[in-house]
Symmetry: C3
Subunit: 144 residues, 3 copies
Amino acid sequence: MQPVSVFIKTIEVRLQTGPDIADITASLQRVIRESQVISGQLSATMVGSTGSLTTIEYEPGVVEDLKRAINSLAPPGMEYEHEKAWHDGNGHSHVQAALLGPSIALPVRNGRLKTGTWQQVVAVNHDNHPRTRAVEVTVIGALE
Amino acid sequence: MQPVSVFIKTIEVRLQTGPDIADITASLQRVIRESQVISGQLSATMVGSTGSLTTIEYEPGVVEDLKRAINSLAPPGMEYEHEKAWHDGNGHSHVQAALLGPSIALPVRNGRLKTGTWQQVVAVNHDNHPRTRAVEVTVIGALE
Amino acid sequence: MQPVSVFIKTIEVRLQTGPDIADITASLQRVIRESQVISGQLSATMVGSTGSLTTIEYEPGVVEDLKRAINSLAPPGMEYEHEKAWHDGNGHSHVQAALLGPSIALPVRNGRLKTGTWQQVVAVNHDNHPRTRAVEVTVIGALE
């Protein structure tokens, strides 16, 4: 058992009209390196209610399959109550993001993110226009 | 890097027959204030297998849209194996809650929860009767 | 407020062809006992992009209902882009796992995992063949 420290960072990611999916694994690795944490956990949270975080094998096929599945969960063309008051065309975006969830917790081992070889951390924009999304990252763990 | 402390609290939220959705953001802000943590993370976990946590823009339209989407994922009227043994009418509640997930991790910055301006943390009751649900909150971070 | 320590552990769980669901609650309780953490949180993350973690009431009916719901989200028989390049037959596995999510955060109270009486933590294998899956566990909290 080791005493632990905390390190915080905001990362930004440019995303196209949703569902768009970006690999943020390298950015998270940089945050861990900067934190100097060797052993502990990283949590990341999407700021805003039309974005989400998860992990996938980041290759074009899975990215396309996941986009389709996300649009099946809450199709863009359907009628949404959110639209009736706000008329901003993103009722589906809110539902999609709520179902996927805004946060993720990941292991830090030997000073690096430990995920599977074909498992990348991704940020998803569900909004109906391109957005630069902020992800808040917190690393908590031992420095040796 | 700062040494970190831990603070725990149980919050309770009264919810109607599921899917019902309550904004718990203010309760979490109070827990953070009480914890005196300035910088770190808050994790929250729904106690019980027919509830879940996520974030949404908490306005009546999105709340209604999310309720409908949740009931599409696992409709109340369908046949469930859980019913055959237990006859408590909440087979759909269990499936809905498992798909949304019981936990969330959120950033604490400058002594406050940092979410988007239109992003609230919500507790969802999926059960087929009103319930006062407990949410376990853990704040870990630096006090200065 | 107490100073906190960190403890890490890898647990392994044998799972059949997906969707298969195993109760890992007892394994997590053992990790907490070994960590000597009394008060804090446990985070767990599925290693690999075709597995996920959530909580359910672990009884045969719910297990069966959840398997069906998972296969409805992304049915095994559909056409997936992932297949066109990789031909490994698990396009649905990737989508299912991404939607459920790889991680969970849980409260540690009085030296034990605090979940509901009928709420167990489960690991899900979505892959199209049996796998021994690794789950990375991080316990952070106070030792007294």
